[in-house]
Amino acid sequence: MGVQSTLTRQQAEQAQAQNDVPCFHCGTSCKWLRVDDAQGRPFCCHGCRLVCELLESSGLDRFYDLAPAPGVRMEKEAQAYDFLDEPAVRDSLLDFFDGSIGKVTFRAPAMHCIACVWLLENLFRLHPGVGKSQVNFPRREVTITYQADNMRLSELAALLASLGYEPELNLTQLQHRNKPTPLHRRLTIKIGVAGFVFGNVMLMNLPAYLGLNAATEPGFALFLSTMSLLLSLPVVFYAAGDYWRAAWLSIRQRSLTIDFPIALGIAALFLHSLAEILTRTGPGYLDSLTGLVFFLLCGRWFQQRSYDALSFDRDYTAYFPLSVVRKVDEREETIALTALEVGDRIVVRHRELVPADAELRSGHALIDYSFVTGESEPVERHEGERIYAGGRQVGGAIELETVKPVSQSYLTSMWEDAAFHKEGGPRLRNVTDRISKYFTLAVVLLAAGTWLGWAFIDLGTAVRAFSAVLIVACPCALALSAPFALGTAWRALGERRVFLRGADVVEAMARTNHIVFDKTGTLTRSQAHHVEFRGAPLSAEEAGWVASLARHSTHPHCLSIQQKLAPERWPDDVSSFYETAGSGIEGTISGHALLLGSRRWIEALGIEVPSDAEADMPSQVHLAIDGAHRGAFVLTSALRDELQDLARELQGGRVPLTVLSGDSDKDKTRLEAALGSAAAGLHFRQSPHDKLAFLRGLQEKGAHVMMVGDGLNDAGALQQSDVGVAITEDTSAFAPACDAILDADRFGSLPAVLHYSRRAMHVIYACFALSFLYNTIGLSFAVTGRLSPLVSAVLMPISSVTVVSVAVLGARWAARSCLGPQPGGAS
């Protein structure tokens, strides 16, 4: 047997090595399954082969020329989209519909390359009903026009899904579907106008700088100054409009923000210029004025970027599906979730979400509430018991009867808490505003002092010097420091897959002095388990059998066991496989009968389990081979590998950390060991409301709290915290409303990110110092009454440009030294 088994093993290894080629369609390795087509090209599954054949028969084979293996792996089973044809659902999804032509925008997160864009824009070749389709890649959206006579909306969605670009459909799209108007369009127009005026006013002022004598050429001088005045009107009253409004607001709220001295400076510039031009005493400072507004708007544009493909303010509706399977008279139909009524019977399958509070009618329910409550183990429910919305069924299909409308479930009631409606409350004053308070006071005092000083000598000079101080002190460079430094930091973090809601989050992060972690899914990995086998060790061959059996089930425990055992070669296929949903799996491999499942299930099958084995827990999977109990796999949720380093680094930075978990305290000792003395407290069995209250308590003691979580149970705490960070395995998947989305792979970089945010603040302080220096130089001209338009026109751009360069280069350099070199090629 020994010789034979080595031979077969070698053969199997050879076969596996031969098959370890990328799938022609999606690039996945064909190690596990290889399907060749007529031309001998390898595919990882039949789905990929079918898509490839479909594309080639439709003349779309160019798809494969654009990028190697550009396809999307066909993982999910075909879904029914019939509910999309319901008039109510259809009308709320469509952008436009006139009875025959419909236009719809789908989000398809699976698109990832140039070939995807090309394929989606050539959809019309696959179905005669499709008209024009246009992709917006940064938003991962495709806008499709289709002929309603020729094609139903459900067919269109199914067509996309059949190519692997499953459209994202969730409840949010039904409930509030007002597309956000592109805010940046208005800003772009303002920048365009200001830039245009800036250039032309400079042109009009050029003769004056070159020595035009207004006395000898009065007509020409008048023409030039009138033209500049006319040109600058749209800048003052349109492009700078936001500054007027903000300044007015800051007066009414009695808080001096940076916008106030800016508006003061613009007003002084404009009025002074107006007076000079009307009295024909000079050309005024209109070039400085328009340049100032232009630079300020550019700073605003730089700061106001956001990630189109990510959403930072999703509520539970984004987590809920759009449709649900309803059972009426033993017949299943797919209906829109909004049409679900109390008393309806619904069918929930493996990995599907329970959309409303319901009672179990039939089937074996094993509900995974980890995302909603933080409990790491699925809970078992019996017929007649209540199942709350938000849980996911693990195992076979179950039938439920809804007892509450979707909008009134336990989960949605959490959203009624005040913490979710704190928008509009007093926001944290940022560093620029805090400094500008003193700055404004100093400027006003200085201007008044200058006026007083000159008033006894010469009243005309007094007025000129007064407005000159206000002009020169206009904190343009100061106002540009933070936007450019924070905007650069935001980009640098994004390149390293730490996505912030906006640039101002960097500042909030720099102030963090307490970090609160969720446990399940945050400190532990959501899918992976640490697996340990208790019992007589398994031989390599037996391990192979178990792995092979486990591979046939989608239960997360089976997945973990399979990954743990990961045999070098896979034995013969399993015969007579049978899964008892939520209990166990059985099958025969190479003539040996294997049972893998819960203790009760194994005992019920007549196998004696030694009584010294620990009590039956969901996290224990018992194994029996040929009717004899062999032992049990004990699964514990795996702590993230980076956790110890993270705790050590945070401790070095003297940032205390607290763990709030919705789970039981079974992981307490392991967490304590991993976190060491960095942990300020570990709290278990915390409800979402407890977490919220805990954060409020910390904040009342003056802490700036960063909350790191992943699930809906952290949603309240994420909102309440000063910085809410959501950890997600897949950035295109659902993450609760938060300030930052952190790719789970980058979890270990959290201390570095905190450190970097503080360094970015140092860069801002350096820029402030620089801009104060320029202001002092300018003021020395202004106070002595010698500020000419030329000095102002030169000083203003120089100070802005140097401050912006220092801000950008400083933040870039700090990013390289804190976060390591920029990963190449990320777009």
């Binding site: 390359c113 890649f137 940064p138 938003r139 369009r185 127009i189 245009f196 050429e217």
Partner: protein
């Protein structure tokens, strides 16, 4: 100097035409997606795409 006045007015007129074109471009949404059109050109049917170009694209993708 009256020549300069004419020249300045003419240059202003040209600049205004460009400003108008810019405003039209922004309003018609040409700045909403500044990424995809670049790829769309690369995927145009008529010309053959150099192979290494495609490979590069894929490399950068996989690093993301």
């Amino acid at each position: 100097m009256s020549v300069l006045v004419l020249l300045l007015l003419a240059s202003l007129l040209v600049a205004l035409i460009f400003l108008g074109a810019f405003l039209w471009a922004v309003r018609s949404g040409q700045f909403d997606d500044t990424f995809t059109p670049g790829w769309r050109v690369l995927a145009d049917e008529d010309e053959e795409i150099p192979k290494e170009g495609g490979a590069e694209r894929n490399e950068t993708e996989s690093k993301e």
